[in-house]
């Protein structure tokens, strides 16, 4: 079965090709069936594979398809690696992916058939790329998927290409990702130069003896790649803008899967990172800073998707914190739970927007609880999960990360907890403003309000269930010995450096205390938000510090001022001055020749006397050379 792993990505690829090539002839129904069908098939395959991987003592399997690049001593096979980590991600991607595809069939139903097919083909292509990313047995295949998901994100953000803002957002996403990718690429070149290989296993074993400096460099560069893809400081600004795409896309790409590619990559390279403590610290600090920054911004956003977007950035920061402190399992765990509840939240938001007829501003919502029942309670589940209230899944995964952070440094922990507070607060601000209170939209909108069709609510329900219970996959050891199934499962991947986690788990009482703090903090946040916004939503234009937050700390403007504009200024300068100057010189040589011609011509005065005189001068010169120079 594992040998058939190539089918998992190839099926969505086939879906992409079918939907893409025959988009003009396929009916919407057919498109939907193809688009979802391939995903379902992949999911089933993934399940089967997972079933095999789950067995005790499973060794990772590499499936080589063909030789991709083979030059000199460098061999880069087109190979897939199946192990615990990739199998887990396969499940998340195909599973959540399938649900979102299903959701999309209803959500996008108003599109014309060709565009509908285009949408599904992009979506399929995305899943294909994502699967390549997690299945790749070496960094280059990983990178192919890495850039592939970037491309699909670009295509999907700019799906409504008539809107210039949307295409701008798409462009921004692509370019910011590219900046990160550059770091990744250079890291790959470095690896090739240093280790002569990019295959995971070979790199990891070669890394054991490598100088720390080199490893620090490589890992830092890889991390630069991750900051791009996973929207960390300083490259996070594209993600909120990426909400321009259709909401299911935001759910799939910008919440559940693609943005976690960075986490996956670092988790995959955990051996390298463990050997480079400096990088680990950098990762942790950046992650923490991002988590905090994004959470503060989320406090003041009024666009339902923007709040979720910043929340995503913040949660991703959490995951990096986990990676940075060595809590790899925790990070991966959080990826999984986050995939569930964030996809749920996004799809719920989509359902809300669908109900509101495209309105995204939460100030114009309110009281939707009565109109969209299923959406409401699933959304609530998502909010609880993300806020970290037990026994919902977010609690377990977040707590594991916080525990890891505490083990590393209490400061990390303190900031993490504060962020958790903010998270709980803004999520419930969002919840309260949207679903509680009275409806504030137009009359027409109110009339239009309706619950979404089954194709949309079923995924919601499924995800809500998952978001609620998935946490039990990783119950802390403090509850019961060997209760952390996930840690156990991922042991083969992270076993080499499980020390950090185990250190944190050393004191069970301490862990109980930490859990207590975080639950308390989350509850404070929830209650504060609930009480503050359920009756009197925050409708006023923000002022003072709130305005800074609402304007996202002016980071976009800062980037514009220090990078974008100077870049264009330089480019303009080069085009208008340097280019002309070089051309002027080139033409100047020509003009000089012409000028010389015009001047020399004057020697030809037409007068014999002048001619003879010049001849005599010529003779004189020759004789003078003979007399004086040549000796």
């Amino acid at each position: 079965m594992i040998q058939l792993v190539w089918l998992v990505p190839v099926l969505p690829l086939a879906g992409f090709l079918i939907n893409g090539l025959f988009r003009n002839s396929l009916s919407k129904g057919m498109t939907g069936i193809v688009g979802c069908g391939v995903l379902l098939a992949s999911f089933i395959l993934s399940l089967l594979i997972f079933g095999e991987v789950r067995h005790e003592g499973f060794q990772s399997v590499t499936v080589t398809l063909f030789d991709f690049i083979s030059v000199d001593k460098l061999h880069i096979p087109f190979a897939f690696q199946v192990d615990q980590l990739s199998a887990l991600f396969l499940l998340i991607i195909t599973g959540v992916g399938f649900l979102i595809h299903l959701y999309s069939t209803a959500y996008m139903h108003e599109e014309e058939a060709p565009h509908y097919a285009r949408y599904f083909s992009y979506l399929n292509l995305f899943v294909f790329s994502m699967l390549l990313l997690v299945l790749g047995a070496n960094y280059v295949i990983l990178f192919i998927g890495w850039e592939g998901v970037g491309l699909c994100s670009y295509l999907l953000i700019g799906y409504w290409f008539k809107n210039v803002d949307y295409t701008n957002a798409a462009k921004k996403a692509f370019i910011m990702n590219r900046i990160g990718d550059l770091g990744f690429l250079i890291a790959i070149f470095w690896m090739i130069n240093q280790f002569g290989s990019v295959t995971f296993g070979e790199v990891f074993s070669a890394a054991q003896g490598a100088p720390v400096k080199v490893l620090t460099g490589i890992t830092l560069l890889l991390f630069v790649g991750a900051t791009g893809k996973s929207a960390q400081i300083p490259l996070y600004t594209w993600l909120p803008d990426a909400m321009a795409g259709p909401t299911p896309v935001s759910a799939l790409i910008h919440a559940a899967t693609m943005v976690t590619a960075g986490i996956y990559m670092i988790a995959r390279s955990n051996i390298l990172y463990s050997l480079a403590p400096l990088t680990q610290n950098v990762v942790a600090i950046i992650g923490l800073a991002t988590a905090l920054l994004a959470a503060t911004i989320a406090l003041k956003q009024n666009d339902i998707k923007k709040v979720l977007a910043y929340s995503t950035v913040s949660q991703l920061g959490y995951m990096f914190l986990g990676l940075g402190v060595g809590a790899y399992t925790g990070a991966v765990f959080h990826v999984m739970t986050h995939a569930f509840f964030k996809a749920l939240l996004f799809l719920g938001a989509g359902s809300v927007i669908h109900a509101m007829g495209g309105e995204q501003d939460i100030r114009k919502m309110g009281g939707l609880r009565k109109h969209v029942g299923t959406t409401h309670w699933t959304f609530l589940v998502g909010c609880i999960a993300i806020a970290g209230i037990p026994p919902f899944s977010g609690f377990f995964s977040k707590d594991e990360i916080l525990a890891g952070a505490f083990g590393k440094s209490p400061v990390y922990y303190a900031v993490g907890v504060f962020t958790a507070l903010l998270t709980a607060f803004y999520m419930f601000r969002l919840y309260a403003t949207t679903f509680l209170g009275n409806f504030r939209g137009t009359h027409e909108q109110e009339h239009h309000l309706h619950e979404s069709p089954a194709a949309m609510t079923i995924p919601l329900v499924v995800l809500a269930l998952l978001a609620a219970v998935a946490g039990f996959l990783g119950v802390p050891e403090a509850f019961a010995k060997d209760s952390h199934w996930l840690a156990h499962f991922l042991d083969p991947i992270f076993a080499h450096n499980a020390t950090a986690e185990h250190a944190a788990e050393a004191g069970a009482s301490q862990e109980w205390m930490l859990m207590g703090i975080s639950v308390a903090v989350a509850l404070i946040g929830v209650i504060a938000a609930w009480t503050r916004f359920s009756k009197k939503p925050d409708l006023a234009e923000p002022a003072g510090f709130g305005k800074v937050l609402a304007n996202k700390w002016y980071v976009d403007e800062l980037y514009d001022a220090i990078i974008v504009r100077p870049l264009y200024a330089i480019s303009k300068f080069l085009n208008n001055f340097i280019e002309r100057f070089i051309d002027w010189i080139v033409n100047g040589v020509g003009r000089l020749v012409q000028y010389g011609g015009r001047q020399l011509r004057l020697l030809q005065s037409g007068q014999v006397g002048g001619y003879v005189l010049l001849m005599v001068v010529g003779i004189l010169v020759l004789f003078l050379v003979e007399l004086f120079v040549k000796k």
Partner: protein, 466 residues
């Protein structure tokens, strides 16, 4: 010897032909016949059959180099007469055609002297025999002030240069240990030169440089070429110039070959100046005819490279150059004669009205510019290669190459005018035979450009026997 005698005799025949007939075609055909005879006679010389066993007392020396050069020159003249002979009649009303042809033959006689001289006396006589008819041909358009002016300028400056040349010869004579003008005796064992000898050498260099229009002794060239009737400009710029060049090379090879290192620098200076002035000044010309005059200076600069590096390649190359340059220039001038307007604008749109004319003209110009696949490329190639072979004066090679690039500019101006600019270029009536011949010449240029060994094979054997 055959050639000298035939050309002299045929000159007289031409002179009298004018008395017996007034029909231009008869005169022309006689001239063509004479040229064919010349070629045959010269060929017989080459294979060792001489009509007249004349004892020349070592005044002349008929080696293969000179005779081959003669072949090239006579061949070019034949093409010249065939292409442009008819236009002599059109220079002025009641043009004395027969006399002009007679003068042409006398010039050829002079050229064959210059290519085979073995004593400075013969060189001097040869050059004078070339010059005097040319003064006249230049002024043959009597009513045209330009022609008058050109003639007088040419004459005065020509005499002046003759004076210089004679002074040079006199000094050489003074320096000669045996008191002889023979280039054999002058040349032997001269490695350390006396001041007298060196001064004579320099003056000869100057005088010969004047004749081949090397800067800064070139000033007559543009004016004379411009003022002279175009037919004769064509003749002067090609056949005569090539002939004198052969003599030039011969003189410096035979007489001063041993002391090459002493005078190379001067030749280099003159070459550089010539290339520079010729090319740069040509850029700004408005008249194609005058541009061609400057270009002929520039081409002379290239030929001087052969003088700089007298070696096997140079001797090979100068013949090829002479052939390539003459063919192309004769062709261009033949077309120019047919144009009503000699300025660049006059060529505007020629390709639309006379595609064949334009196409052949393009090939000629490409050859002059030295673009591969034309004879001009290999000509230039040989010049450059011969200098590189000496291992010195690489700066001159690069300089020459840059000048060649400049030359592309003005040659291509004509091509641009013909092909890419709108206008209606006025030409005179064109005969099919004329067109056919143009095509033949163009084909010849291409042929030499792809297989230069057709001409060079002969030379190659000669180099190894030299």
């Amino acid at each position: 010897m055959n050639a000298i005698i035939i050309s002299a005799v045929w000159g007289i025949i031409m002179m009298f032909s004018g008395v017996f007939t007034s029909k231009g075609s008869v005169v022309r055909n006689t001239a063509v016949l004479g040229l064919v005879l010349l070629l045959v006679g010269n060929y017989l010389d080459l294979i060792g059959y001489h009509f007249f066993p004349v004892d020349v007392h070592k005044m002349l020396f008929f080696d293969e180099f000179g005779l081959l050069a003669n072949t090239v020159i006579f061949g070019s003249t034949l093409i010249f007469v065939l292409l442009s002979g008819r236009d002599i009649e059109n220079i002025a009303p009641r043009m004395p055609v027969a006399e002009c042809f007679a003068l042409v033959f006398f010039v050829l006689c002079g050229v064959s002297l210059v290519t085979t001289f073995n004593t400075l006396l013969m060189l001097f006589l040869g050059i004078e025999i070339i010059s005097i008819p040319l003064y006249i041909l230049t002024g043959s358009d009597k009513r045209n002030l330009k022609s008058n002016e050109a003639s007088l300028k040419y004459f005065l400056m020509g005499c002046f240069s003759t004076g210089l040349m004679l002074l040079g010869i006199a000094l050489l004579y003074g320096a000669s240990p045996t008191g002889s003008f023979s280039i054999d005796e002058l040349g032997i064992g001269r490695v350390n030169l006396s001041a007298l000898y060196m001064a004579g050498l320099l003056l000869l260099l100057v005088a010969m440089g004047f004749k081949v229009s090397a800067a800064p002794f070139h000033f007559w060239t543009p004016d004379v070429y411009d003022g002279a009737p175009t037919v004769f400009t064509s003749f002067m710029a090609t056949i005569v110039k090539a002939g004198i060049f052969i003599g030039f090379i011969r003189l410096f090879n035979e007489t001063f070959g041993d002391s090459q290192s002493k005078w190379q620098l001067f030749v280099a200076i003159i070459t550089a100046t010539t290339l520079f002035i010729g090319n740069i000044t040509a850029v700004f010309q408005q008249s194609v005819k005058r541009m061609l005059a400057y270009s002929s200076i520039a081409q002379a600069g290239f030929m001087l490279l052969a003088l700089l590096s007298i070696n096997g390649l140079a001797r090979d190359g100068i013949l090829l150059y002479a052939a390539a340059y003459s063919l192309a220039t004769i062709g261009v001038f033949a077309i120019l004669i047919k144009m009503k307007d000699y300025t660049f604008e006059g060529f505007n749109g020629l390709a639309k009205h006379h595609p064949l004319l334009a196409a052949t003209c393009t090939i000629f110009l490409l050859s002059l510019a030295g673009i591969p696949l034309t004879a001009g490329f290999f000509a230039k190639y040989y010049m450059l290669a011969s200098v590189v072979e000496t291992g010195h004066y690489l700066w001159l090679v690069i300089f020459a190459v840059l000048c060649a690039a400049v030359s592309v500019y003005y040659y291509f101006r004509v091509i641009q005018a013909m092909y890419f600019k709108d206008g209606d270029a006025q030409t005179m009536e064109l005969r099919p035979a004329f067109k056919g011949l143009l095509v033949v010449v163009a084909a010849l240029i291409i042929l030499l450009g792809v297989f230069p060994q057709l001409l060079l094979d002969k030379l190659n054997t000669l180099i190894y026997t030299w």
